[in-house]
C-alpha cells in the first residue's frame, strides 16, 4: 500500500536489486514504528478520573434516564431491606411471639408495626393477613422498581455507547490515508467493537455495584440503629472477606493472564495449522505439529490447574464467612436477646442482612477486573477520537461546476511523505480533456504517489496541482473524490450483493445504472452466470470471485459513479490470457472519452494511451507519444525493449490487421466467458472467466 521508497529513510541506504522486497520491509517496519506511537501514548492508568468524566459527558442526552435509574436503585434497595424487617420484626416480634419476654424492647421498625396495626383496625382482619399483604406489596414494589431501574439503565447506557461508537466510527472513516499507513486496521477495529462493549460493562456494572453498596450501607445503617455492638460483632467478618477477595485477586491476576495467553496461543496455533493444513500434510509435519499443539494444550492445563487451587479456596472462604458470622450473631446476639436488649426478630434481621452485605464485598473483586479492562478500553477509544490527523480542507471550498472539463495540470510538484526523502521532484505535466496518459516507471519511482495526490489522499502545498485551472487545495476533498474516480490495484470487495459492490450503497446509483456499467466493462456475462446474478451475495474479500472478475467489478464501480477524471493503478499479477484480453477491452471502454491517468504495466494498456510519461526517481524523464519516445531512444525505449524485445513478434502483433486482432480477441473472449465450466463445482454456476475451482483452497 504505502509507497515503497516513500519512507524508507535510513533503510534506503542499499537499494539493491529487489525493490519489491524493500517495499515489504519498509512499509511494515514503518507501520510498526508509527503504530506503536499510536498505542504508546496510552497511560494504562488503573483509575483514570479524567476519562471517566469524559465518558459521563457522553451520557448527557440521556442523563434524565440515567439519573432516574440511579434514583430507582436507591428506592428499590430500601424496599429490599424492609422485607426482612417486615418478616422478622413485624411477623415474629409483633404477631407470632408477642408474649415473649423480649417483644417489648424498643427497637426500630420504621413505622411498619404502626402501619400493620392501623391496617388491622381499618380493614378488620387479623394481623397475619395484613402482614402478608404488606409483604406482597413490598415485594411487588421492589421488583417492579428493580425492573424499571434495570431497563432505564440499559437503555441509557446502550444509547450513550451507540453515540460514542458511531462518533468513533465516523472519525475513523474520515481519517486521512496517512493515518492508515501507520496504523494496523485490526487494532483500530477492536476499538470500535470490543472496547465499546467493555465500556458498556463499565457503566452497567458500575451502577449495579453502586446499587449493591447502597444496600450495604443502608443495611449497615439500620443495623447500627438496632444495636451498635452487635453490628460490630456481625461486621467482624467483612474485613476478612475484603482481605480474602483482595488476596485472591492478586494471586489470580497473573494466572488469569497466563490462562488467557495459553488459550489464545492454542487457538492461534490451531487456526494456523488448519489454514495451512495442505502444507502441513505435504511436509509430513502432522505428528510434529500435534506435539507442538500438545505443548500448548499442556501449558493451558497447567495454568488451569493452578487457578483451581485458588478458586476452591476462595469459594470456601466465601461460603464459610457468613456462616461464622451467623454463629457469632447467635452467640452474642442471643445473649442480648436474653438480656432483653434486642428482640428475637432483630437478631434474625441481622442474619438476613449479613448475607446481603457479604455479596457486594466479594463482587468488588470482579468489579476491579472490569474497571481495569474498561479504563484501558475507554482510553483507547478517546485516544482514537482525539487523534488529530486530518486533511487540510479549505475554509470556503470552491463550488465546482456541474461538469468538469477534465484539464489536469501538475505544476512543479514537489512532495514527500513524513520522512525527509523527496518522492516527487518538480513534476510538471498537463493533460487535455479526454486524453489518456500512461505513467510508466520502475517500482518506487513515485507513480502511485501521483495517483494518491490527485485523489487528495495526502496534503501538499498550494498551487501545485490544478483541475480545470483550479487549485486542488481550494476544493473540498470530498468534492474532488466525487469527480476523480480511482481504481486501486487491490480491489476491495465488501460483503453484500454484486449490485451493492458496484453501487457501494450509493442511493444515487440505480440498479439500471449499475447493470449498464457492468455491461459496458464486460462484467455482465460472469455476473449473470452467478447463482443469483446481480443479487448474489459476495463473501468478504471476494473469495468467490477470481482476480479478473474483481478487476472488472472495480471498473464497473468507477463507471457507475461516472466521474469526469479517472485514475487507475493497473494490477500486476498475471492472469490467463483470455481474461486479460477481456480486461483490456473493459478498460478501453471505461476510459473512453474520459481524462485518464493510468499506471500501466502491460503493453496493450500503454499502447491504448495517447501519451506516455516516464517517471524515474520521482522525476519526469520523458513524456510524449509512443512513437516519439521510441524515437528518443531513452528510458522508455529501454523499458520497451526489455519487455518486448522480440521485435519481430512485437511487430507481427502490431502489424496484424485490425480485423485479425479483433477476430483473435473475439475468439478468446468467447472461449473464456461463454463456455461451460467443466468442473461445475457445487455452488458455482458456469464459471465465466476464471470460474471457481471446485476444490477449496485450504
Amino acid at each position: 500500500m504505502a509507497d515503497p521508497q516513500v519512507k524508507s529513510g535510513d533503510t534506503a541506504k542499499q537499494a539493491t536489486g529487489s525493490a519489491a522486497a524493500a517495499r515489504g520491509i519498509d512499509s511494515s517496519q514503518e507501520k510498526l514504528r508509527n503504530y506503536s506511537a499510536f498505542d504508546a501514548q496510552l497511560t494504562h492508568q488503573a483509575l483514570n478520573v479524567q476519562m471517566f468524566i469524559r465518558l459521563l459527558k457522553w451520557t448527557k442526552p440521556y442523563r434524565v434516564t440515567l439519573i432516574s435509574a440511579a434514583v430507582l436503585v436507591l428506592v428499590s434497595s430500601a424496599f429490599m431491606l424492609l422485607m426482612p424487617i417486615m418478616q422478622n420484626r413485624v411477623i415474629i416480634d409483633m404477631i407470632l411471639a408477642p408474649g415473649s419476654p423480649t417483644a417489648n424492647a424498643a427497637m426500630a421498625d420504621y413505622g411498619l408495626i404502626d402501619l400493620t396495626e392501623f391496617l388491622m383496625a381499618f380493614l378488620q382482619i387479623p394481623g397475619l393477613a395484613v402482614a402478608l399483604i404488606l409483604y406482597i406489596a413490598l415485594f411487588c414494589v421492589q421488583s417492579l422498581l428493580g425492573i424499571a431501574q434495570q431497563l432505564l439503565l440499559t437503555s441509557g447506557a446502550l444509547k450513550t455507547l451507540r453515540d460514542l461508537r458511531v462518533q468513533l466510527f465516523a472519525s475513523l472513516e474520515q481519517k486521512p490515508a496517512s493515518f492508515y499507513d501507520h496504523v494496523a486496521v485490526g487494532r483500530v477495529m477492536t476499538r470500535v467493537t470490543s472496547d465499546v462493549d467493555n465500556l458498556y460493562n463499565l457503566i452497567t456494572s458500575f451502577i449495579q455495584h453502586a446499587g449493591d453498596f447502597v444496600v450495604f450501607f443502608m443495611a449497615l445503617f439500620i443495623m447500627l440503629d438496632f444495636a451498635f455492638d452487635l453490628t460490630l460483632v456481625a461486621m467482624l467478618v467483612i474485613p476478612f472477606c475484603a482481605l480474602a477477595t483482595y488476596l485472591f485477586r492478586m494471586a489470580i491476576k497473573e494466572i488469569v493472564r497466563a490462562i488467557r495467553d495459553s488459550v489464545s496461543s492454542m487457538n492461534q496455533y490451531m487456526q494456523e495449522d488448519l489454514m495451512g493444513i495442505e502444507v502441513v500434510q505435504l511436509s509430513g509435519r502432522e505428528e510434529h505439529n500435534f506435539e507442538e499443539f500438545q505443548d500448548r494444550n499442556k501449558e493451558n492445563r497447567k495454568q488451569e490447574f493452578r487457578q483451581i487451587n485458588f478458586d476452591v479456596l476462595f469459594e470456601m472462604v466465601n461460603m464459610s464467612l457468613p456462616s461464622i458470622a451467623t454463629a457469632a450473631i447467635i452467640w452474642y446476639g442471643g445473649g442480648k436477646v436474653v438480656q432483653e436488649e434486642i428482640t428475637l426478630g432483630t437478631m434474625i434481621v441481622f442474619t438476613s442482612y449479613l448475607n446481603m452485605m457479604v455479596q457486594p464485598v466479594t463482587a468488588l473483586g470482579q468489579l476491579f477486573g472490569t474497571l481495569f479492562r474498561s479504563m484501558a478500553s475507554g482510553e483507547r477509544i478517546f485516544q482514537a477520537l482525539d487523534w488529530e490527523e486530518r486533511l487540510h480542507e479549505p475554509e470556503e471550498p470552491y463550488e465546482l461546476p456541474e461538469r468538469l472539463e477534465g484539464h489536469i495540470e501538475f505544476r512543479n510538484v514537489n512532495f514527500s511523505y513524513l520522512s525527509s526523502e523527496q518522492i516527487l521532484k518538480d513534476v510538471s505535466f498537463k493533460i487535455a480533456p479526454g486524453e489518456k496518459l500512461a505513467i510508466v516507471g520502475p517500482t518506487g519511482s513515485g507513480k502511485s504517489t501521483i495517483i494518491r495526490l490527485l485523489a487528495r489522499f495526502y496534503d501538499f502545498d498550494d498551487d501545485q496541482i490544478f483541475i480545470d485551472g483550479i487549485d486542488l487545495n481550494r476544493m473540498a476533498s470530498h468534492d474532488i473524490r466525487e469527480r476523480v474516480g480511482v481504481v486501486l490495484q487491490d480491489f476491495h470487495i465488501f460483503s453484500g450483493t454484486v449490485l451493492d459492490n458496484i453501487s457501494l450503497n450509493n442511493p444515487n446509483i440505480t440498479r439500471e445504472r449499475a447493470i449498464w456499467a457492468a455491461n459496458v466493462v464486460n462484467a455482465d456475462p460472469f455476473i449473470q452466470a452467478l447463482p443469483d446474478g446481480y443479487d448474489t451475495e459476495l463473501s468478504e474479500r471476494g473469495h468467490n470471485l477470481s482476480q479478473g472478475q474483481q478487476q472488472l467489478l472495480a471498473f464497473a464501480r468507477v463507471l457507475a459513479a461516472d466521474t469526469e477524471i479517472l485514475v487507475l493503478d493497473e494490477a500486476t499479477s498475471s492472469i490467463d490470457t483470455g481474461t486479460e484480453l477481456i480486461i483490456q477491452d473493459g478498460l478501453h471502454k471505461l476510459t473512453e472519452g474520459r481524462t485518464s491517468i493510468i499506471i500501466a504495466h502491460r503493453l496493450q494498456t500503454i499502447q491504448e494511451c495517447d501519451r506516455i510519461l516516464v517517471l524515474h526517481h520521482g522525476e519526469v524523464k520523458e513524456i510524449g507519444t509512443h512513437d516519439e519516445l521510441i524515437e528518443l531512444k531513452g528510458i522508455y525505449y529501454t523499458l520497451h525493449e526489455l519487455q518486448f524485445q522480440d521485435s519481430t513478434r512485437a511487430a507481427e502483433l502490431t502489424q496484424l490487421t485490425p480485423e485479425e486482432r479483433a477476430r483473435r480477441r473475439a475468439r478468446w473472449v468467447e472461449m473464456n466467458s461463454g463456455s461451460d465450466d467443466p468442473t461445475g463445482g457445487p455452488g458455482m454456476g458456469p464459471g465465466g472467466i476464471g470460474g471457481g475451482s471446485p476444490v477449496r483452497p485450504i
Partner: protein, 623 residues
C-alpha cells in the same frame, strides 16, 4: 462465579455458523463422554459422596438456628446459645475439609477431559483430506474446538456434581421439613414444580433473543471491519457519509436487540421471583398461623424459611442445568462429528510398497475423476508420463483440470486404484506419508506460517542447514529479498509478522518446495505473481537445482512452458494437444494462439542481458 474472565474469551471467540437451539433429544450424545469419565470412576464416586456429606452439613445448619431461636423464645427451654454457635463452627470446619479437596479433584477432572478432547480433536484433524475440509471450514472447526469444548467443560465441572447434589440436597431439605411439619411442607412445596418449569422455559426462551443480539453484534463488527479494511476505496469513492449512516443504523439495530434481550431477562426474572416468593408467603401466612395455633415453634418457622431456600434454589436451577446439559450434549455431538470422522484417504490395508529409492517416473494412466457432487468429469482420460529427470508443463485455462492432475499425484484428490503410478507401482500401495516425501507439491495459493522465514522454508525438516536454505532461496529468486529484510532469515512473516508481497510469498513457497529435493516436484501455477524477469531467473534456478529430477509445472505463460521437455494443454479435463514447444507451434492450435498473443512477454536472453548491462547504473529493475 468467575464467568467474567471466561465469558470474555467466549464472546471474543470464533463466530462459526449459527447453531441450532439444543434440545432434550440431544442428551443421548452425552454418553459419548463416558469413556472419558470411566478412568475417573472411583474418584468421581468418592468425590460425590464427600460432597453429599458436605451438603448434609449445610442442611444441618438451620437445625442449629432453630434450637437457638426456640431456646430464646420459650421459657420452658433452657437458653442454649454456645452449643449451636459452636456446632456451626464445627460444621464450617467439616465443610471446608471436605469441600476443598473434593471440589478441586472434580474440577481438575473436568479440565483433564477438555484437555483430552482437544488432543484427540487436533490429532484427528491433522490427517483429514480435502473432503473433510470442504465439510468443515476453519472457522467452524475453531468454534468446535473452542466454544463447544468449553461448553462440555462447563457441564463436566458443574453439571455432574450439580445433578448428584441437587437430588441429595432436595432429599435432606425435604426430610427436615417433613420432620418438622408435614402439613406445612406439603403446602410450601406446592408451587415448586412451577418454579422448575418456568426456569426451564426461561432458559430456553432466552435463546432466540441472544441469537438475535449476537447476530446484530456480528453485523456491527463486520461493517466496521470491512469499512476499515476498504477505507481507501470508501474514501476514494467519497462514500464516507453513506457508510456512517449505515453504521448508525446497524448500531441502533444492535442496541435494540440488546435492549430486548435485557427486557426479556428482566421480565422473566420478575416472573421467576414472583413464583418463588409464593412459598415464603405460604410459610409466613400458614406457618405463622400454625405458630399462633401453637402447632409449631418460632424456631421451626425460621428454619422452614432456611430450608425453603435449600429446596427452591436447586429446583429453580433445574431449568438452568437442563439447558446447560442439552447445550453440552449438542456440543458433544459437534465435537465427536469431528473426532469420529474417518479420513477418506487412507493407507491401503494390504501390503504397501516399501520405498527407499525412487526413480521419479510418474504415470497418469487414463486418469478420470469427478468431484463429489460435481456434474461433469473434472478429468477425462488423461494420460501423462513423466520420465525421470524430465520437466513437463501443463497449460490450460482456469478450471480445465490442471490442478486436479497434480493433486491426484499426492492423493489430495482420491482417485480410484489403477490410474496413477509411481515407478510402476500404484500410488495407492504406498504409505501416504512416504509418497508425499518423494512427490512434492507447491500449491497454487501461497501460504506462509507466522514464523521466521527459516522455519517456513524448512517446514518439513527444521534441522536443515543455512546452506541448503540459501541455495533454495537463490533458486526461487528470493535471496535478495531475504537479505533486504531486517533480520534476514529470522524475520517473522505471515499474519503476525511482516507482510510479504504476493510475489515474495509465492517465491517463498516455491523455495519451501525446492529445498526438499524430492524426486518429483509439482508446481501449481507458482509464477502468477512474479514478473517475467524474475520468472526467468526462477526457471534458471529450477534447471540448476533439478537437472536430474522430475518436475511438472502449471503455468499460464508460454514463456514458462517453452522450457519444458513436453507440454500438455488441458481443456475441459481432456488433453487438447501435447508435444514440445516447436511441435505445438507448428501445429497452429491453441498453444500457437496463446503464443502469438503472449509474445510480448517472450524474451530473448542475450539481447536482454546486453540491455541490462547498459542500464545497470540506472537501476531499472522492473516496469
Amino acid at each position: 462465579m468467575y464467568v467474567g474472565s471466561r465469558g470474555g474469551a467466549a464472546r471474543s471467540g470464533f463466530g462459526g455458523p449459527t447453531r441450532e437451539r439444543s434440545s432434550i433429544k440431544h442428551l443421548g450424545h452425552l454418553k459419548k463422554l463416558l469413556p472419558y469419565l470411566k478412568r475417573y470412576k472411583w474418584i468421581l464416586i468418592i468425590c460425590i459422596f464427600a460432597l453429599l456429606i458436605q451438603r448434609w452439613c449445610m442442611a444441618y445448619f438451620p437445625q442449629l438456628m432453630r434450637t437457638a431461636i426456640d431456646s430464646l423464645t420459650y421459657d420452658h427451654i433452657d437458653v442454649n446459645l454456645s452449643g449451636p454457635a459452636l456446632g456451626m463452627l464445627v460444621l464450617v470446619a467439616i465443610q471446608a475439609i471436605i469441600y476443598i479437596p473434593a471440589r478441586r479433584v472434580l474440577r481438575r477432572m473436568s479440565i483433564t477431559i477438555t484437555y483430552d478432547l482437544r488432543k484427540r480433536f487436533f490429532h484427528n484433524v491433522q490427517y483429514q483430506g480435502p473432503a473433510f475440509f470442504n465439510l468443515f471450514s476453519t472457522g467452524d472447526l475453531m468454534s468446535r474446538a473452542h466454544n463447544d469444548v468449553n461448553q462440555v467443560r462447563m457441564a463436566a465441572s458443574w453439571g455432574w456434581v450439580q445433578l448428584a447434589t441437587i437430588v441429595f440436597t432436595l432429599c435432606t431439605g425435604l426430610y427436615y421439613m417433613f420432620d418438622m411439619s408435614v402439613e406445612l411442607s406439603i403446602y410450601v412445596l406446592l408451587p415448586t414444580p412451577f418454579v422448575a418449569i418456568t426456569g426451564f422455559f426461561m432458559a430456553r426462551g432466552m435463546y432466540p433473543y441472544f441469537r438475535e443480539r449476537q447476530e446484530a453484534q456480528a453485523r456491527v463488527s463486520t461493517l466496521a471491519q470491512e469499512n476499515l479494511n476498504g477505507i481507501r476505496t470508501i474514501q476514494a469513492m467519497a462514500q464516507e457519509e453513506h457508510e456512517i449512516n449505515r453504521f448508525r443504523q446497524v448500531s441502533t439495530e444492535y442496541i435494540k436487540k440488546y435492549y430486548r434481550a435485557v427486557r426479556y431477562q428482566a421480565f422473566m426474572g420478575f416472573a421467576m421471583s414472583a413464583i418463588t416468593t409464593i412459598s415464603p408467603l405460604i410459610i409466613l401466612g400458614y406457618g405463622g398461623y400454625l405458630v399462633l395455633q401453637g402447632e409449631i415453634t418460632i424456631g421451626t418457622f425460621t428454619a422452614f424459611t432456611a430450608y425453603l431456600m435449600m429446596v427452591t434454589q436447586p429446583i429453580a436451577s433445574i431449568g438452568w442445568s437442563l439447558s446447560m446439559f442439552t447445550a453440552a450434549a449438542a456440543s458433544t455431538e459437534r465435537i465427536f462429528e469431528v473426532v469420529d470422522y474417518i479420513p477418506e484417504v487412507k493407507d491401503s490395508s494390504g501390503s504397501s510398497v516399501e520405498i527407499d529409492e525412487v526413480q521419479g517416473r510418474l504415470e497418469f494412466k487414463n486418469l478420470s475423476y469427478t468431484y463429489p457432487g460435481g456434474a461433469t468429469k473434472a478429468l477425462n482420460n488423461v494420460n501423462i508420463v513423466l520420465d525421470p529427470g524430465e520437466t513437463i508443463a501443463i497449460l490450460g485455462r482456469v478450471g480445465s483440470g490442471k490442478s486436479t492432475v497434480l493433486r491426484a499425484a499426492v492423493r489430495f484428490v482420491d482417485t480410484p486404484r489403477g490410474m496413477v503410478y509411481l515407478d510402476g507401482h500404484d500410488i495407492c500401495d504406498y504409505n501416504i506419508r512416504d509418497l508425499r516425501r518423494h512427490i512434492g507439491l507447491v500449491p497454487q495459493y501461497p501460504f506462509l506460517f507466522s514464523a521466521t522465514i527459516k522455519e517456513n522454508l524448512t517446514y518439513d525438516d527444521p534441522s536443515r542447514g543455512d546452506e541448503e536454505i540459501w541455495e533454495a532461496a537463490h533458486a526461487a529468486g528470493l535471496d535478495d529479498a531475504i537479505k533486504d529484510l531486517l533480520y534476514g532469515l529470522d524475520t517473522i512473516v505471515g499474519e503476525r509478522g511482516i507482510t510479504l508481497s504476493g510475489g515474495q510469498k509465492q517465491r517463498a513457497t516455491l523455495a519451501r518446495g525446492l529445498i526438499r529435493q524430492t524426486e518429483i516436484l509439482l508446481l501449481d501455477d507458482c509464477f502468477s505473481s512474479v514478473d517475467t524477469e524474475t520468472e526467468e531467473r526462477i526457471i534458471e534456478g529450477l534447471h540448476a537445482m533439478r537437472s536430474d529430477l522430475s518436475t511438472i509445472l502449471i503455468s499460464h505463460r508460454v514463456s514458462t512452458a517453452r522450457h519444458a521437455d513436453r507440454i500438455y494443454v488441458l481443456d475441459n479435463g481432456k488433453i487438447l494437444e501435447s508435444g514440445t514447444h516447436e511441435e505445438l507451434l507448428s501445429k497452429g492450435g491453441y498453444y500457437a494462439d496463446l503464443e502469438a498473443i503472449q509474445s510480448n512477454q517472450d524474451e530473448d536472453r542475450s539481447k536482454r542481458d546486453r540491455l541490462i548491462e547498459k542500464l545497470q547504473d540506472e537501476q531499472v529493475t522492473a516496469v
